[in-house]
């Protein structure tokens, strides 16, 4: 049984159908890439998977249990973390605070009003560890709004990792990063690979084809092609559609 099973998911906004019928399965420990042209509905698919958009039809199962229709916080608690294509970091928080509130230990104390956060070194240490793992070890005390673009992208991933997820959904993690940034991100993701299940929407073909175990192509509201990177490179539809050059 696959960890995530998506069956016949249909999403519409008013009379605009964005996802016609998505069928897709992600195995435990797999890095599953998702590609498709702009406006194909990739972000909408992530929104549906993580609970902020309700599908009007279809099933989404996580370990066999249906999660379609659950709210975002309920799905997050089941171990599904996501990064955002348009970064929505907590700008008034420091890098450390951004990560801290994402920790399960913090979440467990969300309604605690008796202790101050500031004196809690266990939370701070755990947050700093996560920051160090994405190369932001030196930036803990910097306000998120003062970080550079690349640092904000890294923080975005740190926040997702801080949730200790089983499933990590990354929405265009390389977007706006230069070659150096993309290389560093690829190294980080290569390290994570196998330890958790990753679903990554990505336009950068080289990045995706070198990291992904399998790739699904979403177009016209459906998965129009799927397979390993090698299989996809041979796929006539992918070749014809000029989705990008494979280096």
């Amino acid at each position: 049984m696959a960890l995530i099973e998506v069956e016949g998911v249909h999403v519409r906004f008013g009379d605009r159908v964005v996802l016609e019928e998505i069928n897709l399965a992600v195995n435990e420990g797999e890095l599953h890439g998702i590609m498709g042209p702009n406006g194909a509905g990739k972000t909408t698919f992530f929104n549906t998977l993580t609970g902020s958009v309700k599908p009007s039809r279809g099933r989404i199962r996580l370990e066999g249990a249906d999660i379609a229709g659950l709210g975002p916080h309920a799905i997050a608690r089941k171990g599904v973390a996501r990064s955002f294509q348009i970064m929505t970091l907590f700008n008034d928080f420091t890098a450390q605070e951004n990560v801290m509130v994402a920790l399960p230990a913090f979440r467990a104390r969300g309604f605690d009003v008796r202790r101050a956060v500031a004196g809690d070194s266990a939370l701070a240490d755990e947050a700093n560890e996560v920051l160090a793992s994405v190369g932001l070890g030196e930036k803990a005390a910097i306000s998120a709004k003062l970080l550079s673009y690349g640092e904000r992208r890294a923080l975005e991933i740190a926040v997702a990792l801080a949730q200790r997820p089983r499933v990590l959904c990354l929405d265009e993690p390389t977007s706006g990063l230069g070659t150096d940034g993309t290389t560093r991100l690829a190294e980080l993701i290569a390290k994570l690979k196998g330890k958790l299940t990753i679903v990554a929407v990505e336009h950068d073909m080289r990045f995706l084809f070198s990291l992904a175990d399998r790739i699904s192509v979403i177009h016209w509201g459906q998965v129009v092609a799927r397979g390993t990177p090698r299989e996809l490179q041979e796929n006539p539809w992918v070749k014809r559609s000029n989705l990008g050059s494979f280096g």
């Binding site: 993580t50 609970g51 902020s52 709210g71 975002p72 916080h73 997050a76 608690r77 973390a81 996501r82 955002f84 929505t88 970091l89 907590f90 700008n91 008034d92 928080f93 605070e97 801290m100 509130v101 994402a102 399960p104 913090f106 979440r107 104390r109 969300g110 309604f111 605690d112 009003v113 008796r114 202790r115 101050a116 956060v117 500031a118 004196g119 926040v159 949730q163």
Partner: protein, 339 residues
């Protein structure tokens, strides 16, 4: 916010300073041409403004009908006194419970809303509560209000303090204020307070981190409404009466203005600063011209246009600049001279 070391404290140096200054108020208030009762008003409205800012500044929820909770607390204080028990603590508990219950009803109906829809609903509910207070004559006394509310003695076991004159009442509300400030400071710096602040910054992201945003919003509305009701109860006691006008739209707008002018969006103490400035302006400018509200309104407009972070925010900015300059001059003077 001040440094993280003070965030971890229950009592901060700023608190001690504020309490000390406030404690001396009765000694000099007459000398500067004001009178002790304004001190009572300032402290009670400060509690109200801090309670309100939990919703507006901390959680980013635009509430324009908060007067309803203040007013419900005021009526509850009087009605508890007349119908249940003429005991200060029982009456204040009644005010808190009534405010929190009103908050729960409103919160259940609006906590899932955001932004402008949230704001409009708070206005609508504020108007509903105001209308009830005017129309439900047999309970609220309608436009005539509830009169003859007593300033009940504060009893602690066998000792009992008479707080019926303005000076002792002032010290009583100041002691209450000190406790409220301590509790709120801890609350905003606790994990719960952090999540409220996260919700202000991005509801969507907070939800995706596994927090039930709806429940947090509902709970903070209830806490804020309960504390506003508490302030309303104190106010009814101070005024010896309760009237519908504290619940009307203009009065609900006032608390928003005071909080914003003082700098509630960026500072814990902002709402208190706003209350002090507003109430003093009301009396000082009010003695010179009937159009004092116009001047305060104009000040509000200018502030929102040029200093949206309010007075406390402006002061913070000046402090930072001053520190940076001092730092720069220290670096300069300690730099080795090139010969």
């Amino acid at each position: 916010m001040t440094g993280s070391s003070s965030e971890a404290r229950l009592i901060t140096p700023t608190m001690l300073g504020a309490w000390l200054v406030l404690a001396t108020v009765p000694l000099w208030i007459n000398a500067i041409g004001l009178y002790p009762y304004i001190g009572v008003e300032i402290v009670i409205w400060s509690i109200y403004a801090l309670a309100f800012n939990l919703v507006l500044g901390t959680s980013g929820l635009p509430s324009f009908g908060h007067g309803a909770f203040f007013g419900v607390g005021a009526y509850a204080f009087g009605l508890t006194q007349f119908n249940i028990a003429a005991n200060l603590w029982v009456c204040l508990a009644g005010a808190i419970l009534a405010g929190a219950f009103a908050g729960l009803i409103v919160g259940l109906l609006i906590a899932h809303r955001r932004g402008i829809y949230f704001a409009l609903m708070t206005i609508a509910f504020g108007q509903i509560f105001w209308t009830i207070s005017v129309k439900w004559h047999s309970v609220t006394g309608g436009e005539d209000g509830l009169l003859n509310i007593l300033r009940l003695p504060a009893t602690f076991g066998v000792v009992s303090f008479d707080i019926s004159d303005n000076e002792t009442l002032y010290y009583f509300v100041l002691a209450v204020f000190a406790v409220v400030v301590m509790l709120l400071w801890r609350l905003v710096n606790s994990p719960y307070g952090r999540i409220l602040s996260a919700i202000r910054q991005s509801e969507t992201r907070t939800a995706h981190l596994g927090y039930n945003v709806w429940l947090y919003k509902l709970s903070v509305i209830v806490i804020s409404a309960g504390l506003s009701g508490f302030a309303g109860g104190l106010f009814a006691m101070a005024q010896r009466s309760a009237f519908p006008d504290v619940m009307n739209l203009a009065q609900s707008g006032l608390i928003v203005m005071m909080t914003l002018v003082g700098g509630g969006l960026v500072s814990f103490w902002g709402p208190v600063i706003g209350v002090i400035i507003f109430l003093i302006a009301r009396d000082v400018i009010g003695a010179m011209t009937n159009a004092w509200a116009l001047y305060f309104g104009a000040m509000f407009v200018l502030l929102v246009l040029f200093r949206p972070e309010g007075i406390a925010g402006g002061a913070k900015l000046l402090m930072e600049r001053w520190k940076a300059r001092r730092e720069a001059s220290r670096v300069l003077s300690s730099a080795p001279r090139s010969g």
